[in-house]
Subunit: 389 residues, 2 copies
Amino acid sequence: MKKTVALLGSTGSIGRQTLEVIEANKNSFEVFALAAHNEIKILKEQIIKFKPEVAVVSDEKAAKKLSLDLHGFKHTKILSGENSLNEIVANPKVDIAFIAVSGTAGLLPTLAAIKTGKIIALANKETLVVAGHIVMEQAKKFKVPIIPVDSEHSAVFQCLQGKNKLHIKKIILTASGGPFRNYSIEELKRVTPEMALDHPNWSMGKKITVDSATLMNKGLELIEARWLFDIPYNQLEVVIHPQSIIHSMVELIDNSVFSLMSIPDMKIPIQYALTWPERMPISNSEEIDFTKLKTLTFESPNHKLFPCLKLARRAGEEGGLMPVVLNAANEVAVALFLEEKIGFLDIPYLVEKVLDSFDNNSPNPELEEILETDRLIRKKTLQIAEKLF
Amino acid sequence: MKKTVALLGSTGSIGRQTLEVIEANKNSFEVFALAAHNEIKILKEQIIKFKPEVAVVSDEKAAKKLSLDLHGFKHTKILSGENSLNEIVANPKVDIAFIAVSGTAGLLPTLAAIKTGKIIALANKETLVVAGHIVMEQAKKFKVPIIPVDSEHSAVFQCLQGKNKLHIKKIILTASGGPFRNYSIEELKRVTPEMALDHPNWSMGKKITVDSATLMNKGLELIEARWLFDIPYNQLEVVIHPQSIIHSMVELIDNSVFSLMSIPDMKIPIQYALTWPERMPISNSEEIDFTKLKTLTFESPNHKLFPCLKLARRAGEEGGLMPVVLNAANEVAVALFLEEKIGFLDIPYLVEKVLDSFDNNSPNPELEEILETDRLIRKKTLQIAEKLF
């Protein structure tokens, strides 16, 4: 029987690759709903190809334009409005809620999907970064599996299968180190958005590509891992592995280290999240040829040149609203960098200033508090940036 | 509750390391029986330290000498005679039969332990190489777990936990490549036993160290893997990985490759075989420091210079008695090499001649036929060697 998917964020990098996987496995999956923010050109093509029952465009103007564009194509109902995402994931026809939207927009639909017992394929970092305590508690309550789509967390998730979680000594997340791994501080100062967007291994969206270059991406993943695998920060490590072949590792108490390797291709963890708990052959993706690969290398992260990783660990360890502050400040800082208003090294500098300035933490924040803090910190980060730069 | 162990082959390299692990975990394990061939000096020390109920010395003279030596030490009964091994593993007090004897001596006790429902910790290659079809069929019949102790098979065994065997695309055994990996054919001709016994990564017995240098060890492991994991030879590969950190890999149908890594230390897979299905912290063994490790490399095996791997694959694929022939011919060839009667490259040459000369194969040989062939081939290999060299 086919599994029915609601794909939130279908026009982004992960969303498009998810549809590639679904297209290659038409007998196993069908699309019930697609959702995008405002990229209606791509969404229109996707709608015509996959014929979902519903498509959601969060931007209302874009939604109206798409409705006109698709006049005569009766198969798909076009919706808009904030609540639409929550409604489509909750639809009884949906088996898998694939959350590939970016930013905090993933949070409420994820919770809606959990409450209606869907399998959650989670490609949205912010959901766990800002509200991991709420999401995981709800997932436990409703006995809903959260299948991570990030290659790192997918690797850890799969390595832990058949293992006893009490046997974990540590989880080691690997990081490519980004394109500036070997840069000096002088070179880092001169990094432009164009340079930062040219990632050596993975093809991804702009924001996450910059986050990979600053190592903030790995920092956010550290916080995700803390919640996904219910593990304290002192059992979470990061090692630089420039080839991105080993996607992460789990060390057990007897010093055995389990890892998952593959070529860097997001279609592999995407397909796994769709097929879980089963597995299927993969199309259009190469296998590793170890004799051609030749070498895997490892290094310690350089915390002096890439302070974001430690900032994230600090925010995670302080807990409460601090990861919300970290995430919001970073999003604004990255946007300012992409607009060439601040430099590459100003990103961690600005984020640290915002973390330092936050004196309103609370240990177990509720949803409203999280979303409110997110909004406040975005404003505050802009204000601090204006003073600093 | 303590698990009770009958350790066959306690004076060999694996046997001694097994006792190290047991000693470090006295609250978890106790020794019911120790067995050795004739190294009574070491065995005596082990008996005094571990106070087993029974000790078996297969060599009768040695057994008598040990009895006299231990006069007054009433705790341990000294036995000899071929059937003693089968009796001690079958004793109702025994939970784990740890088979660390070398050669075909492991076969009958393994079968005796299976029939009495013990957990089998199997460190003896020959048992599966010569009689995999019988051993695995019996293990299935008596629902007995065979826990491999070889680091490669232990890695595969552990990587497959929580996975569906139908999802296996291939199993990739790693090989250090031995000390002569980069030698020319001229250099290989001049290899002496002393040179061959100096393995770069693992500390092991003489015969297996030479087998590692010729790659016959990996060939025998290929045959073992075929039986342990019930997988055809075309899904079994070998890759050279000189650092011996990745102990083996399992590739699944979606191109995900799972691996188990650790420093090269047999105590880790030995302890796992003892603790299975549980796991315990390990004493006196370091964890991997990836940032110090720096590099993992991979190469294809050089089949021209190291033909043993292909000889083993050929014997395995032809099946029936051919692995018995391979194993017996190789044991004799290695002994002749260690006695400096033949050269290093004569080992595969001689084994191939013996394989070519065997025209009495049968598809599903019974135990008696296997043991008889083993005896015959040893004689025949000596005869062929005398003609050739």
